[in-house]
Symmetry: C2
Subunit: 332 residues, 2 copies
């Protein structure tokens, strides 16, 4: 199987929205009038972002999901993506399920593959995704990290920390019962990009980011970009670790006898969550809940934005907790 | 040096044209009204596209140049690009010159870095580039591979085969005198994207492609997309190997005693040329020459497009030559 066969067999399909798809020097997109193109790029490296034996269907899903998550955080509607792929060899047993997982998620979001590159090399998946954001009366509807204001409520979608729990289990650092591992592993390997929620938050949220490096690390980016501080109810966030319910329900009989500190660390600094962390003025509370409902995405308030810089963590009794949680850094 | 320091130190600069650059979940581009966005992506892998000891300044140049070359082939005006970079370690001695080479070429073309990703992993450089193509009276001005018509003249810009000659020399397959190696190596390591020529060919050329896999291989894509054939004057193309002039001038005293077949192979199937191969109707001949002059880019007619499918190679006496030249394929 040569390079062009590989593309034709696994990745080339008729384009529906793009002016021109795979097969020329460039793809062509014609954005709607009065819109901006939102662009994000993520590179996944074997041994760094995924294990060598990761199910290729799930890997195809995740490679696009982490990119769609960036569009969601900007309230951009997915349009198209490019895929650059370095492969050790052209292996049909890997390529077929990889492309199926990738294109199934793409189809679910109406986001079409319009071009890219294939080469021989250590396995590396680089996707660049394109979304559309309307510009209304000269104002972009994109949600940025920089829009948080003192007094805004701080919300997070979905659940936190389970992806990291699965990673720790796969690395042999913790033992998990089969059903907990299965649930957590689905969060690690098949994250759900919160595209519908992001779109529903246009004109409602004041700032947003997706959680990839850990809740507090990513919150730090919002605070830095917005020139603000925040207070976070650590134990409210900690209840969002789905696996923690197993420990509570079963009184620890499943071996999930983690300390409160361990659960907190998963929720606050786990990473790989691909949930939306966002802020909205208090008067938008009903609109936030309506956005959560219309997008069928759970949303929880976990704190608020303060004028005073810095991050304040409070426990369930409102007492200050030390913040010793570090965000993930590839070169730290 | 952490991931965010690395980006801030080497890659983040104030944006000039984009609505939003590096530092949020997405970058934002606002295309001009009545325009299409041309998009291309190329991935460069160490050991496959470049040697481990390649000068990082030149590598930065080349990584963007090969992408700009795709925009040139579509007659798109460069706007912006994203960079996804996997690095074994955050090494300032490599990053500083790499970013300088990259951004120097970006500045020369007014093409700004608006986002991307950095991660730890085997060295891999993935650039996605964005250009603008006007749509005039509902018709895109993009040059495509599919527009060649029987009777069109076939042209190529610049020189051919010297990049491959340098590669062969660096691999120890041929010995070159120092001045020839220096010239050829510059073609391999610092290719010139023919952006100005591509823009000047809007409304003049009927089809275009950039030569990355070798002249005949890339011509094959044009013929396939256009449903046409071609006749190529092999020895006219062969004279475009700049190094061949050294052999002729010096009577072979420099050791460039290649056979005619060897020179032909360099010109017709060398690869890594990043010249434009394009077609234009005979009545556009003066306009093609004017485009070459205005863009200060040499252009040579090397053949013509035929209604009859297939590729016919002719020697200097107009006699048929066998076509045994294979295009580069990463997985063949």
């Amino acid at each position: 199987m040569g390079e062009f066969d590989l593309i034709a067999r696994y990745f080339r399909r008729p384009v529906r929205h793009a002016a021109l798809g795979i097969g020329d020097d460039c793809a062509l997109l014609q954005p709607a009038a009065d819109s901006q193109m939102a662009i994000s790029s993520d590179m996944l490296v074997q041994g760094r972002h995924f294990f060598a034996d990761t199910d290729p269907f799930k890997l195809g899903h995740k490679a696009l999901a982490v990119n769609l998550s960036d569009l969601a955080a900007c309230a951009a509607k997915p349009l198209a993506f490019t895929l650059a792929l370095a492969l050790p060899q052209a292996d049909a047993a890997w390529l077929a399920p990889f492309s199926q997982g990738l294109l199934a998620l793409a189809d679910a979001h109406g986001c079409e593959l319009i071009g890219g590159d294939t080469t021989q090399g250590p396995l590396n998946i680089c996707i660049t995704v394109f979304g559309e954001v309307p510009v209304v009366s000269g104002r972009s509807q994109a949600l940025l990290r920089s829009g948080a204001q003192a007094g805004d409520h701080l919300y997070v979608s979905g659940t936190l920390g389970d992806a990291r729990l699965a990673l720790d289990a796969l690395l042999g650092k913790v033992a998990l019962p089969a059903d907990v591992l299965e649930m957590a592993r689905a969060r690690l390997e098949m994250p759900t990009p919160r595209v519908a929620l992001g779109l529903a938050l246009r004109g409602v949220a004041s700032a947003a980011i997706d959680i990839s490096d850990g809740l507090l690390g990513d919150l730090g980016h919002v605070l830095e970009c917005s020139g603000a501080g925040a207070t976070v109810a650590a134990d409210t966030a900690t209840k969002l670790v789905a696996a923690s319910a197993y420990g509570i329900r079963a009184g620890g009989q499943f071996g999930l006898k983690f300390s409160q500190q361990q659960w907190r660390a998963l929720a606050l600094a786990g990473g790989d969550d691909y949930e939306l962390l966002f802020t909205a003025p208090p008067q938008q509370r009903a609109a936030v809940l309506a956005a959560a409902q219309s997008s069928q995405t759970p949303v929880t308030q976990i704190g608020q934005i303060d004028a005073e810089p810095g991050l304040r963590l409070l426990d369930g009794q409102g007492q200050p907790l030390p913040n010793s949680y570090a965000a993930f850094d590839h070169f730290a």
